[in-house]
Amino acid sequence: MSDSKGTVPLMINGKRTDGREVEDLRNLRIEVGIIPEADGSAYVEWGGNKIVCGVYGPRECIPRHDASPYHSIVKCRYMMSPFASLEEHSRSGPSRRSTELSKVIREVFENVVIAEKFPNTQIDIYIDVLQADGGTRTASITAATVALANAGIPMKDMVASVAVGKAGDTLVLDLNKAEDNFGQSDMPMAMSQKDKKLLLLQMDGLLTKEEVIEMVGMAERGCEKVNAIQTSALKRFYEKGEDETVKW
């Protein structure tokens, strides 16, 4: 990633490759309840990302030895479809990347789900990336929060997520695929919206301490915009009733 920096111009006259300013989000659209069989679901279109998330539970914990008598177990499976990228058809099934992402996404929601209410059960978060365009983990977390709310699972807080990175020597919000692949650094974050705590924090590339601090501030502002869209999607769904059909 960082070793090919400079080969692709990512900032032209202060604008990004897709014409955005540094702190602009790509178009973000969220639909609630698109999988009627699931207890809760959400569909997120974010730039070129298309992601569905279904939440099931609290339901019986399988295998039984995973269960806790004290709280529900949060489980997460993030998966990228083999046709999700413009490049070659990738192998289906779990990869090392998807295993790691499933873990870090689970660790985000363990902080907010009020699991003590449902001992001996599990809550499943299934995320499928149908089309990928950079920033799938942050889009997945944004979708999963909405799906959990739609499933009626009690949470202490809403979670919004966005990546901040460095591309063309500039700090930018919400990296697109080119910025992700050819930029100098990528720092995906997720934040709880009431107490502004970092629930997801990963980083690669080279950054100074000051840049990291600045980027957390950018993520905080970005997450507020994302959260506003999450909230309005949920409101729209519950005001219209559950029969609305979703346009893909």
């Binding site: 177990i73 870090v104 924090l201 690669d204 080279l206 100074t208």
Partner: protein, 267 residues
């Protein structure tokens, strides 16, 4: 309230009384082994134990012991980087090393540590992959195998330390007619940067570095920060939630401790 989440149910059971005592002493600012909150256990690095690999090192932080071996092969380059070599990291949490590790395919913990170490090394650009080109469709592939041999807490930092030490020990093999001549070397790899990670857990509002196995069991909020001399080169938050101020403090600690350990590494 006991809070055990996800895979930790697999862990050996820690007596509640030990948990409570440890929590109480830590909240008073005292660690069981007498260390300060920002103090590592004794660190030891030994280079070159494996003669069959082009580079290797064993790192010990306290009782935690990790072996990293670096081995080269001729491989096909990635289609989008046809002139660049390849670096692959893999970690094994050997069932030999801890009652909590199980045999079988890599689980999410071993995948995570391999990917965090990989990210730190790659971001620091300490290996020049452009120098690995051999001929069309042939480049050198550098395999870093991370073997956790004893897990007494904080295998992440021990693994990064062993990986960086192994790179310092690595010699690039001689290549003739598109094949590696085993046992003959062209030149040392000479990593330009020495990336290291510092792992911390949170006690109240304070960070505690290099957690022991017991401290890891009791304290959930975990943050790993990779550093080079000047830059942050990787970050990975585990469980828990942290504030912006806590992140700023953690970065300061990571730079200080990283510099200390780099001195040991340089010998």
């Amino acid at each position: 309230m006991v809070m055990i989440m996800g895979d930790e149910v697999k862990d050996v059971i820690m007596a509640q009384i030990r948990r409570d005592v440890l929590n109480n002493t830590l909240s008073k600012g005292v660690r069981f082994d007498g260390r300060k909150f920002d103090e590592y256990r004794p660190i030891e690095v030994q280079r070159g134990p494996i003669k069959t690999a082009e580079g290797s090192a064993v790192a010990k932080i306290g009782q935690t012991m990790v072996l990293v071996a670096a081995k080269f092969d001729i491989v096909k380059p990635f289609p989008d980087r046809p002139t660049q070599g390849v670096m692959v990291s893999n970690a094994e949490l050997l069932p030999t090393a801890s009652p909590t590790f199980e045999s079988g395919p890599p689980d999410e913990y071993s995948i995570e540590v391999a990917r965090v170490v990989d990210r730190a090394l790659r971001s620091a650009e300490c290996v020049d992959l452009n120098s690995f080109f051999v001929e069309t469709d042939k480049v050198l592939g550098l395999y870093l195998d991370i073997y956790v041999l004893n897990h007494a807490g904080n295998y992440t930092d021990t693994a990064t330390l062993a990986a960086t030490a192994a790179l310092l020990d690595t010699k690039i093999p001689k290549v003739e007619n598109g094949a590696i001549i085993r046992g003959e070397y062209a030149k040392p790899l000479n990593p330009t940067k020495l990336p290291l990670t510092t792992t911390m857990v949170k006690v109240g509002n304070n960070w505690l570095v290099d957690p022991s196995r017991d401290e890891e069991r009791v304290l959930e909020t975990t943050l790993t920060i990779g550093t080079t001399e000047e830059h942050v080169c990787a970050m990975q938050k585990g469980k828990g939630a942290i504030t912006k101020d806590e992140l700023v403090e953690a970065m300061e600690i990571a730079f200080k401790r990283g510099d200390d350990i780099r001195k040991i590494l340089k010998g």
